[in-house]
């Protein structure tokens, strides 16, 4: 008698896929921190980290080891349970996004067809949006539980910034959904791969720009890093944190960056599509691998742009940040939605 009718092979397959994607994201995030320091160094005309290993390649490992080895300090006046949960929430919310990103097309292994996507749910984009809206909990809980005025102020800043920019992001996404007619990320990528169909950036240039700005704000990257403005708030919402808990907060930012790059690449730049190339002439497995490589290259380009902006543009003042969000981005997003609707109506 079978107690549970479960396709165990499917579960194993998905677990392996989840493990690969999570560890790959962590690994990429590790080297993104290294890339950030190198990019900063190049833009500031200095060599950057170069001592640990060839070209300083072991630097992120040394940094990680240092964070783990540091003393763990939990302030006595803090709310202990929430103080510990905070970084975990930040990390979880950052990693949850990877479940719906289509990393590649289908590969065939051991006679099974495997989608290189953990879950192709028909509300993919809304799921991403939901996870983004949960990301604010990590900051708020950590900042509040620290029982420090600067942390609390930073947490409130971070939360209000996230809420403000989520709105414009959502409206920019609605315009995209109106053109694609589907919420599933896989369907959206497949549409862009069709012959005669351009990437969505061609149909939604303004929408992409808005989405990009909002993604930058959601990741708390400079020029939107008000929650950790060190000259006003000492160190921001993670001021009381030490050791790997601090590491989780810092790491979550990089994972957020990778995930939002992957989302932007999938939504607006064809995901695992290779430009000017017909993938169907390759065998399916090779095509899938090349597709994954193409997506990774797009992600790396986006990450580089994030860093480039960070080390070029200074931080906004808080009122400028709110004005930009509410008085520029949201009206523009609404306009974009109206124009898209009119265009769809006109085209019939």
């Amino acid at each position: 008698m079978t107690l549970l009718a479960i396709d165990w092979l499917l579960i194993i397959e998905k677990l392996v896929l989840i493990a690969i994607i999570v560890f790959a994201s962590l690994g990429i995030a590790l080297y993104t921190t290294f890339a950030e320091r190198k990019v900063a160094a190049v833009l500031q005309d200095r060599p950057g980290p170069e001592r640990a290993g060839p070209f300083g390649l072991f630097q992120p490992l040394a940094d990680g080891l240092k964070l783990i080895m540091k003393e763990e300090i939990i302030p006595t006046s803090s709310n202990k349970a929430l103080f510990i949960i905070g970084p975990g929430l930040a990390m979880t919310a950052a990693l949850m996004t990877c479940a719906v990103i289509p990393w590649g097309s289908t590969v065939e292994l051991f006679g099974r067809k495997m989608d290189l996507q953990i879950a192709d749910i028909n509300i993919g984009i809304l799921y991403v949006f939901g996870v983004v809206s949960l990301g604010v909990y990590g900051i708020m809980i950590g900042g509040w539980a620290s029982n420090n005025k600067f942390s609390l102020m930073a947490a409130l800043r971070g939360a209000s910034q996230a809420i403000s920019y989520e709105l414009a992001m959502g409206i920019a996404l609605i315009a995209l959904l109106m053109t694609t007619g589907s919420l599933s990320l896989k369907t959206i990528v497949d549409q862009q791969m069709q012959p005669g169909h351009l990437w969505n950036i061609a149909y939604q240039p303004l929408g992409f720009l808005l989405f990009f700005i909002c993604a930058m704000a959601e990741c708390n990257r400079t020029p939107f890093d008000l929650p950790e403005a060190e000259n006003e708030l000492n160190f921001g919402y993670h001021q009381e944190y030490s050791s790997m808990k601090l590491g989780f907060y810092l790491f979550a930012e990089y994972i957020n960056m990778i995930m939002s790059s992957a989302i932007m690449a999938s939504l607006y730049f064809g995901g695992y599509d290779i430009p000017f190339f017909n993938e169907s002439i390759l065998s399916p497995n090779i095509a899938a691998l090349v597709g994954v490589a193409a997506l990774l290259i797009k992600i790396i380009i986006f990450i580089f742009i994030f860093m480039w902006i960070r080390w070029t543009i200074p931080r906004f003042r808080y009122d400028q940040l709110m004005n930009l969000g509410w008085k520029s981005l949201i009206p523009l997003a609404l306009l974009n939605m109206l124009v898209t609707g009119a265009w769809i109506l006109y085209r019939g």
């Binding site: 107690l3 549970l4 009718a5 479960i6 709310n79 929430l82 749910i121 028909n122 509300i123 809304l126 799921y127 949006f129 939901g130 809206s133 949960l134 604010v136 909990y137 708020m140 809980i141 509040w144 609390l152 947490a155 409130l156 939360a159 209000s160 809420i163 989520e166 919420l183």
Partner: protein
């Protein structure tokens, strides 16, 4: 028991536990976080009913927006046990008794409702909760209530802005 039933009982247990913790916790911030947990469990129930859209909207609107506002308010007002008025024992007892009576009325109502008798939940074949069907129903059968609701939302927004103005 099949997988759906196991998930149903698990999610129900989580939902009820979190809901009890909302009431029991002394710290308002903890209460809000347990409430977020409850919303997640209820979203799980929506997914069991194949209502993915409702599940995710529940998370976006309640867990992602409304509860964040709750947290904001609680953090800014700095509520804690010292300066919050504590109710006496008899008040608590009266609350428990009247709340329990209300729950019994609700349970008997649900048990006897003609709409619910001999009906089973559409766990896998129901598709009204998918975004496509929901959108079609909202914009065809229920278009007037839907539009009236949007006017209501608009008036609430205008009201909030008027109240939020300084002068």
């Amino acid at each position: 028991m099949n997988t759906t039933e196991i998930l149903f009982f698990f999610l129900s247990a989580v939902a009820i536990f979190c809901a009890c913790m909302v009431l029991i916790s002394k710290n308002p911030v903890h209460s809000v976080l347990w409430l977020v947990g409850t919303f997640f469990a209820i979203s799980g129930h929506y997914i069991l009913l194949n209502a993915q859209f409702l599940a995710i909207v529940n998370i976006i609107v309640y867990a992602g927006a409304i509860m964040v506002l709750f947290l904001f308010v609680i953090m800014l007002m700095n509520l804690n046990q010292q300066n919050e008025p504590q109710k006496g024992f008899w008040m608590k007892l009266a609350g428990v008794i009247s709340g329990g009576c209300f729950m019994m009325v609700l349970i008997s109502l649900v048990r006897q409702a003609a709409d619910l008798n001999n009906k089973t939940a559409m766990t896998t074949d129901g598709d009204i909760g998918l975004i496509k069907n929901l959108g079609k129903v909202l914009f065809s059968d229920y278009v007037v209530p839907f539009e009236i609701t949007s006017v209501l939302f608009l008036s609430a927004m205008v009201g909030a802005i008027v109240m939020g103005k300084k002068d």
